[in-house]
Amino acid sequence: MIKASTTSPREWKKPQISPFAGLVLGLVILLICLVYSVTLGAAEIPLEEILASFVTFDGSYQHLVIQTVRLPRSLIAILVGSALAVSGALMQGLTRNPLAEPGILGIQSGAALAVVATIFIFGSSSLSILTIVAFLGAGATAMLVYFLGSLGKGGPTPLNLTVAGAALTALISSLTTAILIVSQRTLEEIRFWLAGSLAGRDINMFLQALPFVALGLVVAFALGRQITTMSLGEDIAKGLGQQTAWVKIIAAISVVLLAGSSVSIAGPIGFIGLVVPHIVRFFIFADYRWILPYSAVVGAILLLVADVAARILLKPQELPVGVMTALVGAPFFVYLAKSKVKK
């Protein structure tokens, strides 16, 4: 067994390009997807028009559609996709739970309840208020799920956390539904958002959420090394001299920033946070310094593609993108549960 250690499975599975080059490649793919997502939709717009709308904006219908509808929407897809994927990767690394994800663990439902309750009580509110409220809801739920999950036998095991999240989600969604039943006005205002959608968002929403997401991403990327250590298990991390409590708190703040702001602009979009880190880990092993930025890029690409699919599958009708991600992601969850969870 001594020899085996020199050629661990990691050696021969390693991709042939350096992680940095891969990241650049990912960004190029993202850019191509971005351009395509602007051209595709209810009306096809040729590529040269997109360029022209930036260089020589003439106020024509096509240019207006690009600048006020398509581009903001695509940018928000990128923002939300990367936020969800990175928060999922952080959660999976911290809890060592292959099923961890802001949707499954109930964090999104908590943020959604906070948003719905605010609209119900105070009427339409500005996005910045809703974002703050979503943070509070996400943070409170995250703490509650973690607390409840760690009461079970063996502490916060994947199974305990998942089941606690599911039960809490049932409770929270029933409260959300109660509010929507009581107030048809709130329902009318929010029903498309509740299914998880990127439609009808303007550039201001993107700009308002950008600082929060950027902060969350920067904090997450800075924690890469610590998360890698944590993913070996808390005891090992402590043995290596890591301040695990601090790492947990800072990472949790980042998760709440990312998950909360993505819910506030796009509603609860599930499964991106679950699937992306697994895809990334397939190529890059246990090093979260690379897993986190890769997750950001891959998450952005996936949500962009899902949104384009949601727009053009049933033209002229549009699907909520949350439905698309659930249809792709839930079977993946089933597969993971079957293969990775010990009986």
Partner: protein, 346 residues
Amino acid sequence: MKLDWLVIRSEAISFRIDRRVPLMLLCLAVVIIVAMVMNVGQGEYPISPLDIVKTVLNLDTGNPDHAFVIHNLRLPRTLVAFMVGVAFAISGTIFQGLTRNPLADPGIIGINAGASLAAVTVIVLFPSAPIYTLPVSAFAGAMLMAVLIYSLAWNNGSSPILLILMGIGLSAIASAFTSLMITFGDINDVSNALVWLAGSVYGRTWEQVFTFLPWLIVFVPMALTLARHLNALNLGDDVAKGLGTRVEWERGLLVLVGVALAGAGVATAGMIGFVGLIAPHLGRQLVGTNHEGLIPTSALLGGVIVIVADLLGRTLFAPIELPCGVVTAAIGAPYFLFLLIRNRKK
């Protein structure tokens, strides 16, 4: 060894139940009647218990409004609450017995999600469909879901943990399709569908009572006669075979009964969660684990739970009505977590 069993044997059927059962059922019946009377009496237009009893017995109370309010509005609603409570409780008892998993509940293992997807689809796509198609389609959706979950959770025998996880995953898929319906439907249909999704007996009429009744008449006796086999299956397949149970056949029948009751219940009153979880647990506290006594006990308990939840939902924030599914979830979810934590400690 005290003789604490009642044994009834005849040519066709034999029953062996805990001595506590008849008394318990009697007590529960009294509780149910009291709860029903309270539920009928409460509301915008309070009616005294005496007047209610008189009206139901068709005696004149000297107030013509009473007959209308009770017969047309409140009585059918209360009866529906009781009936779906019975259905969900029996379904939950069967699934907990079959999976030997105290956390199994048709809501948690995703069967309700399948049923509600089928029913919402019918409501939104075919608003003019006759009412009796709802339980049938919900049953089909629930059955499909049950088969899927069961086959996915199969891992050299069905693993209780996997059952729950598969239920969570498949529920997510079903809910995605349900949101799809909610997004595209006409706002009024959607509003109705939502009330119904949350689990509510609001505005239920005799029509619903009589649509649902045949399902109870067929499947409740089936559940009672199959209770013996549920006891045997609960000991594990090998023991059950040794006791002369045709394992796969009886299990199939039990799943059919559990799914039918859950599906019809969802079609009638939507997703009233956690009733199927709580009722069997309370029942076991009262009469022990023998299913022949447990099934009727938890059935009546389920009835009480839904009637009381409906009463609370109507009175807590009056004049706003909370669907009783919200009330059961608010009570049931913490209880579920408590069970989860207690189970892990064993």
